[in-house]
Symmetry: C2
Subunit: 221 residues, 2 copies
């Protein structure tokens, strides 16, 4: 019974996600759905990304939070439009919530839309919102056992960014163990190690993202 309700929710969601995708395509935008645990550094990664790319590309950010607009304020300070969605208790963004934000996007061409999901390693992975791909952040202090505990999110993500590398000396995080688990769950995942605080590794991520922006434009032609 519970399963049937969920299935019907997901079918409806996918239809709305498809409509969102068409809207995003009219903007010519690459759209990424960024997921992680609370406090892994999603907003910091967006800040780092925006700082490096906002002169070259038109960027917009959609912020999902249970409550408040702390993150949207942080992004707006960077001079990039940030639209806040409050989920009012829901632990993930769904396609309908993202749909309500679309009229607030800038008109015309947008190169990159980053959707920051609610901090949660579980449910966001189940809901398409119209993105080109899902990606996730894992921060070193969370530990190296997360793939086995939250397999769906690691399975659904095209990109994994391991953040807070500046804390590596103080944690016993095993990259060998992470690699073993990823091989079982999602061997094709593209992984980067970064520190949003020190800037370590960010350039590799930026290079990849620029490549994806170009690829989306080519595919839309």
């Amino acid at each position: 019974m519970k399963v049937d309700i969920l299935k019907s929710v997901l079918v409806t969601n996918d239809a709305i996600a498809e409509a969102n995708r068409k809207s995003f395509d009219r903007h010519k935008a690459l759209v990424v759905n960024l997921m992680s645990s609370p406090g892994a550094g999603k907003t910091s990664l967006i800040e780092s990304t925006v700082d490096r790319l906002s002169r070259k590309y038109k960027i917009a950010v959609i912020e999902g939070d249970i409550a408040g607009n702390i993150d949207a304020q942080r992004i707006a300070k960077r001079g990039v439009p940030a639209i806040q969605i409050n989920t009012g208790g829901a632990c993930h963004l769904d396609a309908a919530m993202v749909r309500t934000s679309l009229p607030h996007l800038p008109k015309g061409r947008i190169d990159l839309v980053i959707i920051e999901n609610v901090g949660n390693l579980v449910c966001p992975a189940e809901f398409n919102v119209g993105e080109d791909f899902k990606m996730m952040l894992l921060s070193l202090p969370e530990g190296d056992d997360k793939v086995r505990k939250y397999p769906l999110m690691f399975n659904q993500s095209k990109v994994l960014i391991v953040n807070k590398m500046d804390l590596q000396a103080l944690t016993d995080f095993s990259f060998a163990s992470l690699a073993r688990d990823l091989k079982a769950i999602n061997p094709k995942i593209k992984a980067f190690r970064v520190s949003c605080k020190t800037g370590q590794g960010i350039n590799h991520w930026i290079e990849y993202l620029e490549h994806e922006i170009a690829r989306k434009k080519k595919n839309l032609r």
Copy 2:
């Protein structure tokens, strides 16, 4: 419609939680429902607690995870019974899931049952499972803005343990900001600062917990 479904789910859940509570009372157990983000250190706190109290008290642990039994294995190594519940995708424990674990508890008197919820700062706070109180862990690297972003969990918790104090020098976590937000959301919350890694502050938590175990026994008389 969605809201009505949730309401009816919660009413059913509360009835089962009440039945769980009666079962726990027959064991004379104090029952805590431990919640946090993934990787904040729930299992480490349980390990620290068990190490200090398992000679003096009968303890059992109920482990909630989407998948796997890593945490139950860690606890069982400590010589304490650990019952694993796999939620199979659900992002929280509910009362019915906890109910399925009750026949696996040791017979007779148990002083303390610790229920480790799924790592998630959102949904676990909505579901009573038959606990005496909810408590949560927040780890320093998650940042000091979590009360504003995830208010329900901080509101529902009687105890807040701030973990990973050993990383304090490397974070810009503001306890003043945390205290301000807690004052608005839950001024009565009992807060402890600990490092499960170094042992810092654990004794204060243990002292409090022993007091609560004694109080529960007294109330049941």
